[in-house]
C-alpha cells in the first residue's frame, strides 16, 4: 500500500509545474497544521502590541472621551467581516469553476469566523452607538447592510448543513455566497450613497488620515491581529473539515496510524 511518505517523495517535481498541488486536501492538511500555530502566535503578539498602543499611548478623544476606544476592535472587526465574506465567495467561485475539493472546504472553514467578526462589529457598534447617538440600534444603511451580512453568513452555513452530500452542499451554498457578495460594496459605500447616522470611513487610501497617528497605529495593529487570527482559525477548522470529509481515504488511515 502507498503511504503518505511515498506520495510525498514525488511531490517536489510535481509541485514545480502543478499549481493545483496544494489544492489536494492530503498536501494541505499537514501544511495547515504547521502554519496555523505561527499565525496564532503572530495574532497574540500583534494583539498585545495593539492593546498597548490603544489603551496606553492613544490619547483621549476630544469629542467622545474614552468611549471612542471601542474603535480599536469595532473597525478591524467590520473590515474582517467584509474581507472574510469576499474570501468565502472567492473559494466558492474557485470550487465551482475548477471543481477542486479543497475550495469548498476552505469556504466552509472561513464562514463561522466571518460570522463571528460580523457579530463583533454589530455588538461593539451597539455599545458605541448608545453613548454617542443615544440608541443601541438604528435602521440606517450601514447598520442594516451589516446585519444582512450576518444573515448571509448564517444562510450559507444553514444551507450547507441542510444538504447531506458535502460536494453538492459546496455548490449550492457557494452560489448563495457569490450572489451575496454584492452586499459587501453596499456596506462599504453605504455611508457615501445614503445619508446615514454612521460616520464616514475613518481610514482611506486616497486621503490623509483624520485621526491621531497613535490611534491609527492601534487600529492597524488590531486589524493585523484579527487578520492573523482569522487565518489561524480558518486553517484549524479546515483541518477538522478535511478529516471529517476524507475519513474513508487511505491517507487519513495513515494519519490516524501515525498519530496514535
Amino acid at each position: 500500500m502507498k503511504t503518505t511518505a511515498d506520495v510525498r517523495s514525488g511531490a517536489a517535481e510535481r509541485r514545480r509545474y502543478n499549481l493545483f498541488w496544494f489544492s489536494s486536501p492530503q498536501t494541505f492538511f499537514p501544511l495547515a497544521g504547521r502554519l496555523a500555530p505561527w499565525f496564532a502566535a503572530a495574532a497574540a503578539v500583534l494583539a498585545a502590541a495593539g492593546l498597548y498602543v490603544s489603551f496606553l499611548l492613544a490619547p483621549t478623544d476630544a469629542q467622545q472621551g474614552e468611549s471612542y476606544r471601542i474603535i480599536f476592535i469595532h473597525v478591524p472587526a467590520a473590515w474582517m467581516s467584509m474581507f472574510l465574506y469576499v474570501v468565502m465567495a472567492f473559494w466558492s467561485a474557485v470550487g465551482l469553476v475548477f471543481n477542486t475539493r479543497l475550495s469548498g472546504m476552505m469556504a466552509n472553514a472561513v464562514a463561522p469566523t466571518g460570522a463571528l467578526f460580523t457579530f463583533i462589529a454589530l455588538w461593539t457598534g451597539a455599545l458605541w452607538g448608545k453613548p454617542t447617538w443615544g440608541a443601541w440600534w438604528v435602521w440606517d444603511a450601514r447598520l442594516t447592510s451589516e446585519l444582512i451580512l450576518l444573515f448571509l453568513y448564517f444562510g450559507y452555513m444553514a444551507l450547507h448543513a441542510a444538504i447531506e452530500d458535502p460536494r453538492r452542499a459546496d455548490k449550492a451554498a457557494g452560489i448563495l455566497a457569490m450572489v451575496g457578495v454584492v452586499n459587501v460594496p453596499i456596506i462599504y459605500f453605504s455611508v457615501k450613497w445614503w445619508n446615514t447616522l454612521h460616520q464616514g470611513a475613518s481610514v482611506s487610501l486616497t486621503k490623509a488620515p483624520t485621526m491621531a497617528a497613535t490611534m491609527l497605529a492601534g487600529m492597524l495593529l488590531m486589524a493585523l491581529s484579527f487578520w492573523m487570527y482569522s487565518i489561524a482559525a480558518a486553517l484549524w477548522r479546515a483541518r477538522a473539515i478535511v478529516l471529517e470529509r476524507e475519513r474513508n481515504s487511505d491517507w487519513v488511515a495513515d494519519y490516524v496510524r501515525t498519530t496514535r
Binding site: 489603551f55 468611549s67 476592535i73 477538522a240 475519513r247 490516524v256
Partner: protein, 61 residues
C-alpha cells in the same frame, strides 16, 4: 497616555460598561471559537481512531 491609577483606567472616563462590554465579549467569543475548534478536531480524531481500532480487531480477531 497617563491614567494615573488603576481605578481611572477601569472607569474609562465613565464609559466602562461600553468599552469593557465590547472588549470582554470580543475576547470571550474568540476564546470560545478556539475552544470549539479544539473540540471539533478531537472529536474527529477520536472517532477516526475508534474506526481504525475496529478494523484492526476484525482483521486479527
Amino acid at each position: 497616555m497617563n491614567w494615573g491609577s488603576w481605578d481611572n483606567f477601569f472607569a474609562m472616563g465613565g464609559y466602562a460598561f461600553y468599552v469593557w462590554g465590547s472588549y470582554a465579549v470580543t475576547a470571550a467569543l474568540i476564546i470560545a471559537e478556539v475552544a470549539l475548534l479544539r473540540v471539533r478536531k478531537r472529536t474527529i480524531d477520536s472517532s477516526l481512531r475508534r474506526i481504525a481500532g475496529a478494523h484492526e480487531q476484525r482483521r486479527h480477531g
